[in-house]
């Protein structure tokens, strides 16, 4: 089972009905690289991210995740959808963090973190619990394991969500606007956890409006507008000296 932590997309296309959301997107994320997708709302950033773990299906183009075609196998002149079981295997190696946290409200923080290993990987409970406690400590939440999501602040919930994704030992982490639903004073704690992850060599692809974080941590930035990859390159370079006019306009508005 390969899991080399890479993402490669070539001429990726996706439409919702007649509305084309992704127009021939190219994207390469090497192992251990941090890549940020930025752009105005409705530009297709989240859709691109969601394609990478199969929450949306791709219409056309190449999508290789962890060194293999994702969700489909190439046979003859077409891509054939894989069986659901195979798809869940591929997904289990990709961690996803959502804007709205999406913690399971019926489980404690610890059970949330344990849910993947226990229910999917069939890890025995004791091992999973020890690992969950480690991960909760890693995101600065030791002692909060017994609490339900409703008893945690937004920032704490999002950190539990990160721990839950990490519990599956993913080779890639996807973040879909992880701090957009948080009160301003809680953003820092979540970014801190993400920063630690980045330093530990995790491959990360994130959609974000945190330009400061992108500048400090990201290796590469992809600017999207209206489903098109307008500009792609070294993070500090693109943010400091954008070449494209649309990128310049966008950055002027958000910075």
């Amino acid at each position: 089972m390969k899991a080399d932590g890479t993402i490669v997309a070539r001429k990726l296309c996706k439409s919702f009905g007649s509305h084309q959301v992704l127009r021939e997107i190219d994207l390469t994320v090497s192992a251990g690289e941090i890549s940020c997708i930025i752009g105005p709302s409705g530009s297709g950033k989240s859709t691109l991210l969601r394609c990478v773990n199969g929450l949306e299906t791709v219409d056309r183009g190449v999508l290789r995740v962890n060194g293999e075609d994702f969700g489909y196998v190439e046979k003859d002149n077409a891509y054939h959808a894989v069986r659901p079981q195979r798809l869940t295997e591929q997904r289990a190696r990709i961690g996803m963090v959502f804007q709205q946290f999406n913690l399971f409200p019926n489980m404690t923080a610890e059970s949330n973190v344990m849910s993947g290993p226990v229910l999917v990987k069939k890890t025995d409970r004791r091992t999973a619990r020890e690992r969950a406690q480690e991960l909760l400590a890693q995101v600065g939440l030791s002692g909060c394991g017994h609490k339900y999501p409703a008893q945690l602040s937004g920032g704490q919930q999002q950190r539990v969500a990160i721990a839950r994704a990490l519990a599956m030992d993913p080779s890639i982490m996807l973040f879909d606007e992880p701090t957009s639903a948080l009160d301003p004073e809680l953003v820092g704690e979540v970014l801190g956890v993400m920063r630690d992850l980045a330093h530990n060599g995790m491959t990360m692809l994130l959609v974000t409006h945190e330009m400061g974080f992108a500048r400090d941590v990201a290796d590469e930035v992809l600017f999207m507008d209206d489903g098109i990859a307008v500009e792609r390159g070294d993070a500090r370079e693109v943010l400091a000296n954008p070449k494209e006019k649309r990128t310049q306009e966008f950055l002027e508005r958000v910075l």
Partner: protein, 307 residues
């Protein structure tokens, strides 16, 4: 003059003790407050007076029949009918709800058709219909297709009043339960499915451990209401001659002509049972009322859920 003595706002009379900031605020009772009480008391008093003085109520008869053998047997059958029809109806309702949510249009359409039909026609009519189903299908043959193994079934003998009652109540209840269960599933946000998917959960694991526990706060209180409704609804099967509570009362007053006292006996028993059910019902409702006590509800909904 002491320092704690203040004068009233009008300045007419000094009041000892209380500073203005410590004074109670009083809303005086107005005439219509008393009027409401008077009207309500008058109505209740009138009702009590007539029930006590009107001989036609025949209270002694009510008491003498209250715990008669046949009434108690009828009561038991009412409870059995409620439990059986509710149980089977819930199971079938779950199946229908799952079909209704299917992505296959023919499957969800079929369930939709069922729900529309059974909710759109009166239960009473349905019950009589099932009792007379033999007129439509006198003989049904149960067997394995493409083999010689089959058993002919005489529908007329099979469809006893009790079978017709259970079939009718179950099929009707299933349609309502299907909608309640579907509503429960609709209350779970899309993000929960996505989070489960992103962890690589299979469809069944996702349903069993993530989705179903979250549907309970919406489903359980509504189901409690259905149980109470079903308990009263069983009285309809008296028309088929099933000896449940109402029918037992009817067969006594058919002999004795003490119609009113026996209807009172039946009503009192229905009232006792619905009250008995409404206590746990309101407790459950308070537990699961999501807006006010979300955390407690979620916590209890899931004590047994996962880990």
């Amino acid at each position: 003059m002491s320092t704690t003595t203040t004068t009233s706002p009008t300045g007419s009379r000094p009041l000892p003790g209380l500073l203005p900031e410590h004074k109670k605020r009083i809303t005086p009772k107005r005439p219509h407050d008393y009027l409401c009480w008077a009207a309500a008391i008058a109505v209740v008093a009138g009702l009590v007076y007539t029930t006590v003085t009107n001989e036609n109520y025949q209270w002694p008869v009510v008491f003498s029949y209250f715990t008669t053998r046949s009434i108690l047997d009828g009561l038991l059958l009412t409870l059995v009918l409620t439990v059986v029809s509710m149980g089977l109806g819930t199971l079938l309702g779950l199946l229908l709800a799952i079909m209704r949510m299917s992505h296959q249009p023919p499957i969800s359409g079929l369930a939709g058709l069922y729900i529309t039909f059974f909710r759109g026609t009166p239960v009473l009519v349905q019950l009589i219909f099932w009792f007379n189903i033999a007129a439509l299908y006198p003989n049904v043959s149960l067997g394995i297709p493409f083999t010689d193994i089959s058993t002919p079934v005489d529908v007329n003998a099979l469809m006893t009043p009790l079978t017709a009652a259970i079939v009718g109540l179950t099929l009707n209840e299933a349609a309502y339960m299907a909608e309640i269960i579907r509503g429960g599933f609709a209350s779970v946000s899309r993000g929960q499915y996505e989070a489960a998917d992103s962890l690589g959960m299979s469809g069944f694991t996702r349903l069993r451990h993530v989705i179903i526990p979250q549907t309970m706060p919406a489903i359980i209180p509504a189901t409690g209401n259905q149980v109470i409704g079903m308990l009263k609804g069983t009285s309809l099967v008296s028309v088929l001659g099933v000896a449940e509570l109402l029918n037992s009362a009817q067969s006594i007053y058919a002999r004795t002509y003490q119609t009113i006292p026996l209807l009172i006996v039946a009503s009192l028993w229905y009232l006792i049972m619905t009250l008995a059910l409404s206590v746990p019902q309101s407790m459950i409702e308070r537990r699961f009322s999501r807006s006010t006590r979300r955390q407690a509800a979620v916590a209890t909904a899931t004590k047994e859920s996962l880990l």
